[in-house]
Symmetry: C2
Subunit: 335 residues, 2 copies
Amino acid sequence: MTTVKPTLAMVAREAGVSPSTVSRILNGTARVDAAKTELVNAVIARLGFRPDPMARSLAGGKTMSIGVLTQYIDSPFYGEALRGIEDELRRAEYVPLFVSGHWNETEELDRLNLLRERKVDGVIILTGRLSDATLLDISAKVPLVITGRILQAPNLISIDFDNFEGARMAVRHLHALRHEQIAYISGPLDHPDAQQRLDGFLHEKRELGLKHNDLLMAVGDFQETGGFLAMNTLLQMREPFTAVVAGNDQMAYGARLALQRAALRVPEDISLVGFDDLPHSAFTLPPLTSIRQSVYEMGVMSAKAMLSLIKGHQIDKAIVAAELVVRESTRLHRR
Amino acid sequence: MTTVKPTLAMVAREAGVSPSTVSRILNGTARVDAAKTELVNAVIARLGFRPDPMARSLAGGKTMSIGVLTQYIDSPFYGEALRGIEDELRRAEYVPLFVSGHWNETEELDRLNLLRERKVDGVIILTGRLSDATLLDISAKVPLVITGRILQAPNLISIDFDNFEGARMAVRHLHALRHEQIAYISGPLDHPDAQQRLDGFLHEKRELGLKHNDLLMAVGDFQETGGFLAMNTLLQMREPFTAVVAGNDQMAYGARLALQRAALRVPEDISLVGFDDLPHSAFTLPPLTSIRQSVYEMGVMSAKAMLSLIKGHQIDKAIVAAELVVRESTRLHRR
DNA sequence: TTGTATGCGTTATCAT
DNA sequence: ATGATAACGCATACAA
């Protein structure tokens, strides 16, 4: 069978109405006679007509696509967010256009430019290094949803994890387990998430009257390797500690291996808390106590926020709660 | 500054030539006077002109986008492939349009349809459940690169891992370590990768004269949970074994935890080999011996293949080699 | 080799 | 409420 791809014009002719009418029905741009609407919809269904996204865009309409700027397309952390975005967008017949910035401002700008060229109807930025000013600038031209920081502006919604509170929960958990000397492995200090988590950690320690000094902290790169290295420096400092919280799970994995190499047992000798609760963490040895962030949920929320922005409904900023997941890498400290 | 987005028409006017000439220079569609070419290019550079992908597409040109069908956007395994594709495509100014099939044929078909609507210049399929016939069908309409199986057709290039050989390497390694009773945890039997790996495993066992029976095999889901469960069934069978190879690293992780729960040590009591060598596997306890597949490399190769297909250069099918990475989860078996 | 004219499938503007 | 008609930015068949 020689199926010609049906066009809006064909639908119009078939239904005996003008193209404009069909377009209006499609977009709800104006009030159309009910009977006609029904008729046209029937024809659309019969022909299996689907508007051409390209033509639509050229004519100044929507592209039904949302640009999503992430840092690494294969990030174990943001991966779930991508899936959440994809799932949610799909319900509304939108498609995500994923691009990666690699934690490089220039590259982020470049990719954003590409998204603009591609005429996306909105952009979601999963963290990143762009300045607030730049972000505000972008939101002036296209609906923007941003994670990793809180910003106020029309046409912009920010969504963030409760990193601060999450880190506090980790400390409280350890403190409840009678730990007094708690070390910290931080992510890169210029990384928003890393900062907030560190702040929360420090804040809660102070709150609880726990001593802290620079010997109880090392900086990693949010990767396994960095955690491994950081734990080694921590060990060399010779400042005693009975527990450590890592800025994220990946670093906790690395730290755990370093501990093992040093013949230190988890949790018998050292308690270890991660952050993010990667899917994996339920299966490490021992299963890792961690601070859970529903990254998938954040993805869904971002997409929902974008959709409502497009509809013109500015909604509030949202903050996704952290949750302590206790597993087997932490235990009561015996003095 | 009121920057108006420059159009091809503006370039033409500015350079004193016709739009068609500019178009021809852009696409190399026809021979153009060298002097004019230079002039036009200068104007293009000065104005910072970039052809509008949408308009280009509408007019029957290329969209400079490649559809990529993967199964889960956050797959820890295929993630690196996505990055490879992205990196390589970027060099040629193409952008990937990622969609997910979720191992569901209907959904794969649906997403492929979307890609067609979006008029991608080619599609890369990372494994999946589509029939060979369907694939051939697609390749008739658009350049196609497919992984996970070997197919012959014009306008199509297949790229595959050497799953078969990889599984054999795992067995040989164990055999060299004096293991005789080797169990297997397979991925879903209807999964191409799982099949090929199982075949390789069985083949090498036969080759080596090692006995095998159904009690030495359990099926998982390629996830940690599946590995955990599979290991438990293996344990219940009461058929003795001293080593086990898992169909992928994720299942190896789960299996390892199950072993631990059963008070069995790795590698002292049981040797364990994974498959895929996820980034993570260097940091598990103990670090996991695994079969390395350069997934990133496969992504790059897929993109390169696509690019050459677009240029009209049909190239050979490619197969990416497997490699044994020996770490600490395997050791010599003492009788 | 180069220019002109037309069309791609839609939305938007202006009438009616 | 509905219909003509003109863009949108580019590629291409046809002419020159």
